[in-house]
Every structure is written in C-alpha cells, then in structure tokens.
C-alpha cells in the first residue's frame, strides 16, 4: 500500500519543488555563464528607478506634510489612488497569468494525473499566479512605502505594517483573477479565452491611459486653475470607496503614520483575503476539472488566407519566392496571433496621448509664442519621439529573431541565406516604424508651428534614427535571443531588451548633442536678426550625426548576421 493509498498528501512546498528548483537552477546557470555583468546592469537600473520613484514620492510627501489640515489627507489620497491603479493592473494581470498557470502550463498533466488533492493544486497554482503577476507591483511599492515611512517617521514597526497590509492586498486580486479565469474557461476554450483576454486587457489598458490623460491630472498641481477651493476639493475626490481593499490599506498605513492605528482595516484585509481564498478553493473544487478538460480542446481555426497572396503577394513578386514567402509568413503570423496584433491597440492609445500632450503644451495662449521656445521644444521632441520609436521597436522588432527559434531547423537546413532572413525582418520592422516616425515628427512640428528649418532637421534626423533604432532592435534581439519564450510580449522585458533601450538612449543623446551645434547657430542667428549662414561646422555636425546613425545601422546588422550564423540548435 502506497502513501497515497493511505491518504497521505505531499506538502504544498513539495508540490512547488519544480518551480523554485527551476528558478534556482536558472540563477545558477546565469551566474556560471558570466551573468555578473548582467546582474550589475539590472541592479543599477533597478536602483536608479527605485531612487527616482522614492525621490518623487519623498518630494511630494514633504510638500504635503507642510500643508496644514489637509496635508495628511492629500498624502492618504495619493496612496489610495496609487493602490487603486495597482489593483486594476493586478486584476488584469492575474486573470491572464491564471490562464497560463491553471490551464495551459506544461506541468499540469503531471499534477492533475497525480493523487494530489485539489486544494493543494489550487494553492500551489494560486501562489504561482500571485508571484508571477504581482512581483512588479510589490517591487514598485517598496520605494513608495519607504517614502511614506521616512517622511511621516513610521518607526521600526512601519515595514511590518506595510508588509502585513500589502500581502492580503496582493492575494485578493490573485483570487479574484483566478476565479474570473476559471469561469471564462468553463464558457470558452482556453486558447480562445487567451485571445479574448489579450484584447480585453489591452483595450482596458489603452482606455485607462486615454482616460487618465484626458482628465489632465497635472491640473491638480495648479490649484490656481480652479475657480474655488470647493472645486479643487471636488477634483481631489478620487473614485475611492470604503469597501475597496486599497482604501483599507491606506487607512491602516496612514492610521499608523498619523498616530491613530486602524486595526479594523488590517482585520478586514486579512479576513477578506482568507474568505476569498476559501471561496476560490470551493469554486476550484467544483469547476476546475470541467475547465481543464475544455482547455485541452484546440480552437478549430479554418483559414482561407488568400487575401495576403492576392494583395501583398503580388506587390512582393519582384523579390523572388524565398524572400516574398518569408515576408508573407511573418505578416500572417503577426496578424493571426492575438497577443501580437492586439498590442497595436495600446500603441494607438499611446500615440493619441503623445499628440494630445504636444497639443496641451501651454505654448499657445493667444499671445505671440516665443520662436526660441517652439524651436527648442521641436528639437528636444526628437529625443522623445526617438524614445517612443525605441519602445515600439523593442516590442515589435526586438523579438523577431527569437520568434524563429523553434523553427530555425527549417530555415537553417534550407538554402535560404541568413542574410536574406535578416534583410526581410529588418524591412518588415523598419517600414511601418518609418511611416510612424515621419507621422509623429511632421504632426508634432505642425502642431508646434515649427519653422521649415526645424521641420527639415526633425524629419531628416528621425529618418536616420529610425533606420538605426530598427537595426539595433534586431541586432540586440539576435544577441540576446529568447528562443524558449512562447509569448512575444515577454521577450522585450528580458535583459537584452533593457540593454537595447539603454543603447538607444545613448544613441539619441549623442545625435541630439551633435545636432545641438547647428541648431544653436540657427537660433542664435534668428535671435540676432541676422541671416543664417551655413558654416562648415554646421555641415560637419549634420554629417557627423548622419555618420553616427549610419554606423548604428550597419554595424549592428553585421553583428546580428554573424550571431545568427553562429546559432546552434
């Protein structure tokens, strides 16, 4: 008679062994592969980010603390708003993560077929979901709570209070998210649910960004813009409710900081979390098996697919069959993968916000706008536009090589030259990026009413920068491939993605510094009411900027080609 026959169950820690062992092994492998440099880069960037968030919060809280009567109210509202935003992010993130961990993970066949009881499977998967979807919010909370603790002198008990409030606050969306997923999977097949959720999540994300931007929170920083104090206070009334866990966290934390401990809120947080976990386990016991069975069903997908051949296929005919089919294949894969194309929704929202921000700049208030100011904004906007393009390239071009990983056997054993593959991937990414770059630059310069000189500088520079950014995205993607990742959206969040963003920021800085020489001379001439004379220095600076961009295009592509040719599978 085995232990299972006797009813003995493995501990929760035992069920989780493969997960934490995998994490430990991965860390050990990273270290053995010379990951110290990587750890230093990641650590430095993380610390800088923490320092930035901490500094921002610290400054605001110090300011609030100086305001009598409503200072701590404002600090509490700010925390409540931050936690409410986190809660919405956590909820969406948990719903999507739960789909993978509860229904699509590779270890489920083993777990479900073993004599482990449902409660342990539920708790193990809930913990996995919680960690995978909440670690970023937990890390982000550290500098925010640290700022509160320091400004309001929380004392040695404050870290404990913070941890005791944050833990149930993170558990609640994990339970709710898993339950929502459980219900959805019982209604739709899991793979369809993933598609559906991707669209809903991104649509919601885009909606939040748009809404947040359109309500213009920067007005809160300028109380003089409000007619009366009552208007200001009304604007401060965020959509919070005493029944929301974010409010309980705020009350518990602010209660401790202001010397009026609110134990009821802490009690509410823990009892609600416990009740929700029990409810989740109940639902799991009743609905998991049916949902898991449904999750095994493949979504039937009949595709005629002739449209691409008729339209783009004809346009690409001069490229020859191998390049044409390769490009068509990449486009089909992109537009048939919901996790890929749905990112365009978010991109569209970000672009609207970008243009809205430019339009909202307090430059045009009836009077004559200083020419100097418009030109400087137009010039510096190049850096911002470049950064936006780099983010888009990180999302769409950086993963291009990684996504071929599992199929590389086919490409490598065929007579397709790796140069042709790289070439196809480069232009598939560059052409849309170029259109976008030109649209952003021209539109913002039109909105800013920039001069023809600044327009020409902007368009020329962004053109060259786009070629370089695209090449760098492809090259860094080839240098730091993620062949095992199935979700393209996760690839840019890797170490390679971070290095790419840092390299792009360096390129943008260099180009802007070089071009600031001719732009300064142009502004100087305009300021002195003198005609602009083109000097060798100006021509040299533009030529140098172009050479830098050209170098940043050609060298990364060469490195990428060499790297791809060296891949071994």
């Amino acid at each position: 008679m085995t232990a299972a026959d006797r009813g003995a169950q493995p501990s929760l820690a035992h069920v989780l062994i493969p997960k934490w062992r995998t994490v430990l092994t991965r860390m050990r492998q990273e270290r053995d592969e010379g990951g110290r440099g990587k750890a230093i880069v990641l650590g430095t960037v993380g610390l800088l980010f923490w320092a930035f968030v901490f500094g921002l919060c610290f400054k605001m809280l110090r300011y609030f603390k100086g305001i009598e009567e409503i200072g701590s109210l404002l600090a509490g509202k700010m925390l409540g708003l931050a936690l409410l935003s986190f809660a919405s992010v956590l909820l969406l993130s948990n719903v999507i993560t739960a789909l993978s961990s509860f229904f699509l993970a590779k270890d489920l066949d083993l777990l479900v077929s073993s004599p482990v009881d449902g409660l342990r499977i539920y708790l193990a998967k809930l913990l996995e979901t919680l960690i995978n979807s909440s670690w970023m919010v937990a890390l982000m909370s550290v500098p925010i709570f640290a700022a509160y603790g320091i400004v309001y002198r929380g004392g040695w008990l404050f870290p404990l209070i913070s941890a005791a409030t944050l833990l149930p606050y993170l558990i609640l969306p994990a339970v709710v998210g898993s339950a929502v997923t459980m219900i959805l999977v019982n209604v739709f097949p899991a793979r369809r649910t993933r598609d559906l959720l991707s669209i809903i999540a991104l649509g919601a994300g885009a909606g939040i960004i748009l809404l947040f931007r359109i309500i213009r929170p920067e007005r809160l920083a300028r109380p003089e813009g409000f007619q009366t104090l009552l208007d200001f206070m009304a604007a401060l009334k965020a959509p919070t409710s005493p029944l929301l866990p974010s409010e309980w966290v705020t009350r518990a934390v602010m209660g401790h900081l202001t010397g009026h401990p609110d134990w009821l809120s802490l009690y509410l947080l823990w009892t609600t979390a416990a009740l929700f976990v029990a409810g989740g386990a109940w639902l799991h016991a009743r609905a998991y098996h049916t949902g898991f069975t449904k999750a095994q069903e493949g979504a039937e997908r009949f595709v005629k697919g002739g449209l691409w051949d008729w339209s783009l296929g004809r346009v690409l005919r001069p490229l020859g069959p191998s390049r044409r089919e390769f490009i068509l294949k990449d486009l089909r894969l992109f537009f048939r993968d919901t996790t890929q194309w749905s990112q365009l929704i978010l991109l569209a929202a970000l672009l609207v916000v970008y243009l809205f921000n430019i339009k909202s700049l307090p430059l045009f208030r009836g009077e004559q706008v200083p020419f100097f100011l418009v030109s400087v904004v137009s010039f510096l906007n190049l850096g911002l536009a470049g950064f936006v393009l780099a983010s888009i390239a990180a999302r769409f071009i950086f993963p291009a090589v990684s996504l071929e990983g599992r199929q590389m056997w086919l490409l490598r054993s065929s007579p397709l030259e790796m140069r042709a593959m790289l070439w196809a991937k480069y232009w598939i990414g560059t052409i849309p990026l170029l259109i976008l770059a030109l649209a952003i630059t021209v539109l913002t310069n039109v909105l800013l009413r920039a001069t023809p000189f600044m327009m020409a500088v902007g368009v020329g520079t962004i053109l060259l920068l786009t070629f370089a950014i695209s090449a760098m995205a492809l090259a860094f993607g080839a240098l730091y491939p993620q062949f095992e990742t199935e979700n393209a959206a996760q690839i840019p969040t890797s170490f390679g993605g971070l290095v790419f963003m840092m390299a792009t920021i360096a390129l943008l800085s260099v180009v802007i510094v070089i071009e600031s020489i001719p732009v300064y001379r142009y502004l100087r001439a305009a300021f002195d009411h003198e005609p602009l004379t083109v000097t060798p220095l100006m021509v040299g600076a533009f030529a140098l900027a172009a050479a830098v961009c050209l170098g940043a295009t050609v060298i990364p592509l060469r490195i990428a080609l060499r790297r791809i040719e060296d891949y071994e599978f």
Binding site: A299, E300, V303, L333, S413
Partner: protein, 250 residues
C-alpha cells in the same frame, strides 16, 4: 551522395561526435543507429547545415556544406525528430512557404502541395491552422515539407515517432520508392526492425564514434550475430534483462 570526413563536434569539453568518416552512396537507404546520446542527432544536424562542425567536412553531392551551403542544402530535405512548425500558418501555407525557401513557386508547387497532402491524408486539413494539428499530423506535414522541393537526399531523424501504423507503413513504402528512383536517405531510428527491413547499409554510432558499418550481411559476418538487435546490444551495452526484472519486482 554524402561524404563525412573526420567530422567532430565538441560541446565545451564534451565530444559529442568524434572524428567520424562515412560515405553514403547515391540511391541507398542508409540507417544510422545508436543509443540515446550517442551523437546521432548531432551528426544529422551537422549534415543538414544546422550545426557547425568543430572540425571535419560534410559534402552533399560534392558540395561542401561549410563553403557552399546553398548548393548543398538545395539538394537536401531534412526531417527533424521534433515537429516544431509555425502554429499560425495553415498546412498549405506552410508547404508553400517551404517551397519558397527552395526558390519554387507557381502551379507546380500548388499541385505538389495537393499531392502530398492527399498522400498523407491531410487534404481536409489543408486550410486549418497548424496549431489544431495533432503530433502525428505535424510530423506528416514536416515529412511533406521535406519532399515539396523534390530533393535528391533526405536526412531524417526518428521518422516513425508519433505516426500511426498506417502512416508508418506509408512512409516505409515512400522511402523505398524514393531510393528506387535514385534518391538517397540517411535515417536515424531506434526501431531496429525497420532498420533491418529497410536499410541497404547501416552505421552504428556509440560515444560519438562509428563502431560498426556495412550492409546487414556484412555486419552479420563481421560480428557473428543473427539479428540486428543482438548486434546492437553487443556493441552498445544494453541493460541486462535480469536487472530490469529486479527493478520491476522490487
């Protein structure tokens, strides 16, 4: 058709393939056998141009894979052991894509796609996304893709994995017909009965080295054994039956 000379592959300090030399004549079906981890897949992937050898050369139809990869690969169809294909393409789109990689297009390709899908009983799945295919169907699709450009040589790693008995029989017939028409096949397999029944010549690899090579008759004479299984066990040191029995009874 295939000429390997002192082919070696090192993974760090591990010698996966150790200076093997092998000649596979045109029009033969050549078996490549060995226990797990012996170096079969590594050798086949070097022949297909997927892995770069540490030293030694691979020639396909006289074309050196290192110096003339395009010329060598144009003659070859590769069937891997794991059927990774693009999930979001349909079967027909995948085959059209592979044909394109070999520079082929048009009505000839369309007819060939229909023929191959018909042979492998995938016609009704022609316009379904590959993500809805079973493991065996994916394997059939990959075999079709290796044949789409009418190669002179097929390099195949464990062809029968995931195939139902009907498809396995079909594949055996197809391989026989392919070699009768002058094609060459290098096939790794663990199914010794298939190797014995199909292959004109067999090489056995153990620890990265070829430990036996010849036709079945030559091997029988050289090693004084009756069946391929006995020879394989003797050369590769299989687990003793009594040990297995002890484990099962424990």
């Amino acid at each position: 058709m295939i000429q390997l000379e002192q082919l070696t592959k090192l993974y760090g300090s591990f010698r996966a393939v150790d200076a093997i030399s092998l000649h596979v004549p045109k029009g033969t079906l050549h078996g490549f056998l060995g226990p797990n981890g012996a170096g079969k897949t590594t050798t086949l992937r070097m022949i297909a141009g997927i892995l770069r050898p540490t030293s030694g050369t691979v020639r396909i139809g006289g074309h050196n894979v290192a110096t003339d990869p395009i010329g060598a690969k144009a003659r070859l169809g590769f069937i891997p052991d794991r059927p990774f294909v693009y999930d979001k393409l349909t079967g027909a789109e995948f085959l059209r894509f592979v044909a394109g990689l070999y520079g082929q297009e048009g009505q000839v390709v369309e007819r060939r796609i229909d023929e191959l899908l018909e042979i492998f009983e995938l016609s009704s799945w022609k316009n379904e996304l590959v993500e809805s295919y079973s493991h065996g169907m994916r394997q059939k699709l990959i075999i079709s893709s290796a044949l789409i450009h009418r190669p002179e040589l097929i390099v195949v790693d464990e062809p029968m994995v995931g195939l139902d008995p009907r498809a396995a029989r079909l594949l055996k017939d197809l391989f026989r017909e392919f070699t009768h028409r002058g094609g060459t096949i290098l096939m790794s397999t663990h199914t010794l009965e298939i190797a014995e029944a199909l292959c004109d010549r067999i090489a056995i690899i153990q620890g990265g080295k070829i430990v036996a090579h010849g036709s079945m008759d030559e091997l029988r004479k050289q090693h004084e054994v009756g069946a391929l299984e006995d020879l394989f066990m003797r050369l590769t040191g299989g687990a003793a039956a009594k040990e297995l029995k002890a484990v099962l009874e424990a």
